[in-house]
C-alpha cells in the first residue's frame, strides 16, 4: 500500500515499526490462498 506520511522523530519511526499494520504477505501467511480471490474495494469505498 502507499507509504504513510513520513514519521519525523525516531520515536515515531519506532512506534510505527512496532504498530505497522499487517502487510499482504502477513495476511497470506495466515489465510488460505488457493481457492480464494482477493477482491478490490469499490471505488466509492471509504473506510470509516
Amino acid at each position: 500500500g502507499a507509504a504513510a506520511p513520513g514519521p519525523s522523530s525516531r520515536l515515531d519511526m519506532e512506534l510505527n515499526e512496532r504498530n505497522r499494520f499487517m502487510s499482504d504477505d502477513d495476511l497470506d501467511a495466515i489465510l488460505p490462498k488457493d481457492g480464494y480471490r482477493i477482491i478490490n474495494p469499490p471505488a466509492s469505498y471509504v473506510p470509516i
Partner: protein, 68 residues
C-alpha cells in the same frame, strides 16, 4: 454466503462495521460461498460478528466465524 453476492456488496455489508483491510472470496468448488473479511481493528471484527451472524443476505443466511 450466497454465491451471487457481488464484491461491492461485501464491502457495503462488512464495511459498515469498520475499516476493511482485505476480503478474500472463495472461488473453488470447495470454497465457493465462503469469504474471509479482514478488519484493520479486531474490535470492528467482533462488532461485525455480533451484528451479522444469522443475517439474511440475498435469501440465504450467513454464518460468521472467527478465524484464528
Amino acid at each position: 454466503m450466497p454465491f451471487n453476492v457481488a464484491d461491492d456488496d461485501l464491502y457495503d455489508l462488512f464495511g459498515k462495521y469498520g475499516a476493511i483491510r482485505q476480503i478474500r472470496v472463495g472461488t473453488a468448488p470447495d470454497t465457493k460461498g465462503t469469504a474471509y473479511v479482514v478488519y484493520e481493528d479486531i474490535l470492528d471484527a467482533r462488532n461485525a460478528c455480533e451484528h451479522l451472524s444469522g443475517f439474511n443476505v440475498g435469501g440465504r443466511y450467513i454464518t460468521v466465524l472467527y478465524y484464528n
